[in-house]
Amino acid sequence: MHLSRLIRTIQLALKSLMLHKLRSGLTMLGIVFGVFSVIAMLAIGEGASQQAQDQVLELGAMNIIIRSIKPPEDTGQSGGGNRSRVLSYGLKWTDFHLLDKTIKTKSKAIPVREIVQEARHLHRSLNVRLVGCTPEYMEVNHLELSQGRFLTDEDQQQLTNYAVIAHETAQELYGIEDPVGSSILVGGASYQIIGVTRPRTASAAVGGSLSGQDYNKDVYVPLETLRSRMKDLVIRVSAGSFSAEEFQLNQITLLIKKREDVIPTSDVVRESLLLDPDHVQKKDFAVVVPLELLKQADQLRWIFNIVLGSIAAISLVVGGIGIMNIMLASVTERTREIGIRRALGARQIDIIQQFLMETVVLSGIGGIVGVLLGLSTPYAFLGIQWFVEAFVLEAGSGDSELARIFSDMKPQIAYWSLPVAFGISVFIGIVSGLYPAFAAAKLDPIEALRHE
């Protein structure tokens, strides 16, 4: 088709559509909202999955995380008469040395021990997470310092009693005082503070086997120091009953050198650990592979997108039905015009093109407006969030969990969805225009000319 003819057909279509501005506008509105809702739905889905992905990425795509988990109750036999029994489970130093020696694809193996303890400074106290760790811990967990320094290898070797405390720990226990240089009492042992970390957003729970971690109430001490002081026994007194647990390590993080080795290595890790009959019996460890989770999250994202997108696409189809409806009415209304054009030499294909171009222009303009509206989704959503927070939640709906999820939502426009939504709208325009266009072209010119 020549350009001049194409332009003429488009002009013709615009002219016919402009004849009924309200009708064309309303018909177009169906497509506008269809395209808008496709883009908005995908943006909300994309935002949610992006959050999930960020959480996984925070764990490090190149890491394999092995966690100790408490075995199920029945294997512990913690019945009423058995309260003096010491529950012994979890990753051991032997596991660490085994992995450290045998896994060749790793660049580092980082052991961690965590205990919840009461920390004191003067008359103030706070329940903190006492983390025995190595210098790499800072890098792996994306910690940043606001003051002082982090632990070093020398601290490990010399069993220094240095500690680095987290932002909130510092605030709660020291207030406006400068904590660096003072001492902190954790679980009865005194440490000297050498650094303070910056506030860090808590990591969310991932994959069930790794609970969320709040890094803001931590105290970091050299792992070796902690080991020498605490031994491996943890004694808890709660609600009158007393329990003691024996475990050595909470977590071993393996940093893998190459991305493609991550998943095969995780299998090797599982198998190596299961060589120990204790682990087989107690099922007391879990291997978390962020890369695997990332892939799952990716799959989930696709399912999410497809479901949300399909729901929105239904409204596009409804818009398409609207177009077909109007075009059929238009064909009936303009039967005479079709007859005139046919008598003056228009071929059937010319009539088809004329009507098809009308629907394409209609849905195309609707699509463009919808895309522009769709681009405003994040801002529109901010407005909705503000409105809901200001008026709905203020009124005390009470469902705070839901409210929190809602205010955390951050739609993110999936840029591929813009051409896709536009393409679908034009496609729907063509499909819904085909039948009316063919119906128009099939009219008998003599009958059409007689039509009143």
Partner: protein, 233 residues
Amino acid sequence: MKLAASLHDLHKYYDLGSVVVKALRGVSAEFPKGDFVAIMGSSGSGKSTMLNVLGGLDRATHGDYVLGGHNVAQLGDDDLSRIRNQMIGFIFQSYNLIPQYTALENIEVPLHYRPGYPAIGEAERNRCIDLGEMVGLGDRLDHRPYQLSGGQQQRVAIARALVNDPEIILADEPTGNLDSATEEEIMAILDRLNRQGRTIIMVTHEPEVSMRAKRRIHMKDGLIEREDNATAT
């Protein structure tokens, strides 16, 4: 004598399922170039069917229709569209203008459907304006049909019929909706076109109008009943 159009033993049957209606039952006629002929007859005589076949809007069941040297009786839909566009100029009783177009745009419509779809250039637009002026519409070319009187609308239709310089002009009751003064004006234009050498075939049932033609063909029951070429003087 060169023929603009000729019909040879033309039959047109409509199969209505239970009955077959024979609208034309063997019509033969010749229309020399520069002819001005009126086709007359009562309703059901077959004159409308004949006009539809002549206009390329309908195909004969059998028989030949030669237009400008080509047998067009058995052409397909696209070819017939082309014939209508290039070789036939229609003038209808109810004008049949496109309501959303101005007079000038209406005159241009056949140009849009020319073979190969060439763009409408300056020269063609001027020709359309000239045609509009020729039929006496000079200052009304930017008016839309609803702003025009019946006579003015029919003038637009005449200009439109001429725009592709057709072989024959088919007029179907061209003055049927007009008062007698306007009828006279329109007929004067047709007279003038005929004097300029245009071939005009006109269907009418009004004797006075038919007397403006050079000859009359009277139809009855799908056949030509008689012809006369008496002049109205």
